[in-house]
Amino acid sequence: MGAIVEGLRRVFQLDAELWHIVVLSLEVSLSAVLLATLVGLPLGALLAVKRFPGRRGVIVVLNALMGLPPVVVGLLVYLLLSRAGPLGELGLLFTPGAMIVAQTVLVLPIIAALARQALEDAWREYEEQLRSLGAEGLRAALTLVWDARFSLITAVLAGLGRASAEVGAVMIVGGNIDGVTRVMTTAIALETSKGDLPLALGLGAVLIAIVLVLNAAAQLVKEAAQRRFG
C-alpha cells in the first residue's frame, strides 16, 4: 500500500511527461474503439438480422476472435505495416496510427460479437414488426442498432476495456518510444522491467482510475437514457 502511495506521488511529479502518456493512451484507445464501433455495430447487427449459408460458422469464428492474443495481432499488423510489408508505404509503423490500427483489430471482434448477441435477442422482438413495415437487411440492422443503443454501451465498454488494458500489440507496433508512442501500459511494463515498481504501481493506479471514470460516466448516461426512453 505504501508503495502505491509513493508511486502515485512520483507519478504526479512527472507532470508534463505523464500528461502526455495519459493523453496518448486515451487518444489511441478511444480512436480504436470509435473505429471498431462504427464497423462492429453494423456488422454485428447484420449478423443478427441476416440469414445466409455459413452464418453459424461466421459467428463461431467471430466469437473465437474475441480471444485473439494481442501480441499476435501486434505481430500481424507489424508485418503489414513494416517497410517491406503490403502497407509499408503508409509509413505508419512506430507511430500512434499503427497502434490505433492494431487496437482496432483487437477490439472489433469483441464489439461485433457482443453486439450480435444482444441484437439477436432484440431482433426476435422486432422482426415481424420491422418486416411488416418494409425494413429489411441493412436498414433493419441500423434501426436495431439505434433502438438497442443503450444496451450496446456494454459491448463498447468491453471493447474499451480490452483496448486500454492490452500491452502486447501497442508495444510491438508502437515500439514504446519515449514521447512518441509510449502509453500507460507500455510505460508500466518498462518501469517494471527497470525495477521501479513504485512508479509502475502508480501508473497502474492512474490507468485503473481512468477506466473506472469512463465506465461510471457511460453507466450514468445509460441509466438516464433508459429512464427517459424506456
Binding site: Y126, E128, L130, R131, S132, G134, F229
Partner: protein, 240 residues
C-alpha cells in the same frame, strides 16, 4: 396505385414447421369490402394464416397471390397490427415518421401525415412522448396510428385487444371502425365473439389449421353449419 391489390387469392395453402402441419389445404378468396373476421380457438392457426397472407411467412405448399406483382408496392399498401405492438425506442411521432419514411413518403409531407394520424387515434397530445413508456392501450393505438398514416388498402389485425382492458379495447374498436369507414379492408383474427359481431361482416372459422366454415356474421352465429363452430360458439359465449 390504379387498381386494388385485392382480391387476395390463397390456393391450397399449407404451412408446416418442424414436421408439424399448422395450416393445411386452405383455399380462400379475400375480396375488398366486407370486414373479415378469422375466428377459431387458440392454436387453430389464425395468426399463422394472417402472416401467410401478409407475407411474413412463406407457405410450404400452395400459393398466396395478390392482384399486384411488385413486392415493394404490395408491402406499402397493406399493414398489420400485432397482438403485442412493437414500438421503437423514440418518440410517438418518430415512430409514425419511421413508417412513413419506409413507405417512401416524401420527407416534407411526413410530419403533417403523421400528426393527422395521431389525431385520428386521439394521441395528438402525446406526440413527443417516448413510445416505449406508453401504456399497453396507448401503444396499441399508436400501432393503429402508424398503420393509419400509411393509408393501407388492407389492414391485418392479430387479436389487437387480447392484452387490453375493456375500455382500452373499446377505443381500439372505434379506430378499427374508422379504418373500415375510410374504405380499408379489415382482416382480423380474434377469439372474442362479441368483438367479432361488433366489427365483422363475415367469418372465416378455422379449426386445426383448416377452414371449416365461411359465412356472413349473422348467419354464422344464428346457424353455424359445422359442428366445430357450433361447439366453439357454445363454449365461448358465457365469457363474452
Amino acid at each position: 396505385m390504379s387498381s386494388s391489390i385485392l382480391p387476395l387469392e390463397l390456393a391450397d395453402v399449407s404451412y408446416g414447421s418442424n414436421g408439424q402441419a399448422i395450416i393445411s389445404g386452405v383455399s380462400l378468396r379475400i375480396e375488398a369490402g366486407p370486414s373479415t373476421i378469422i375466428l377459431g380457438a387458440n392454436g387453430a392457426g389464425k395468426s399463422v394464416l394472417m402472416r401467410l397472407m401478409h407475407g411474413l411467412l412463406q407457405p410450404t405448399g400452395g400459393t398466396v397471390r395478390w392482384n399486384e406483382s411488385e413486392p415493394a408496392s404490395l408491402r406499402r399498401r397493406q399493414a398489420m397490427v400485432f397482438q403485442r405492438p412493437v414500438m421503437l425506442r423514440r418518440s410517438v411521432l418518430a415512430n409514425v415518421l419511421y413508417a412513413l419514411d419506409l413507405a417512401g413518403v416524401p420527407a416534407a409531407e411526413r410530419e403533417r401525415q403523421a400528426l393527422a394520424a395521431l389525431e385520428e387515434v386521439g394521441m395528438g397530445a402525446l406526440a413527443q412522448r417516448p413510445a416505449r413508456v406508453l401504456s399497453g392501450g396507448e401503444q396499441q393505438r399508436l400501432a393503429l396510428a402508424r398503420a393509419w398514416a400509411l393509408h393501407p388498402e388492407v389492414l391485418f389485425l392479430d387479436e389487437p385487444t387480447a392484452n387490453l382492458d375493456p375500455s382500452a379495447a373499446r377505443e381500439i374498436e372505434t379506430v378499427i371502425r374508422a379504418f373500415d369507414a375510410a374504405g380499408t379492408k379489415i382482416v382480423m383474427a380474434t377469439h372474442n365473439l362479441g368483438q367479432a359481431r361488433r366489427l365483422g361482416d363475415e367469418v372465416i372459422y378455422l379449426h386445426a389449421g383448416r377452414v371449416v366454415e365461411r359465412a356472413a356474421i349473422d348467419a354464422f352465429f344464428a346457424r353455424p353449419a359445422s359442428a366445430e363452430a357450433a361447439a366453439f360458439i357454445k363454449g365461448e359465449l358465457p365469457w363474452v
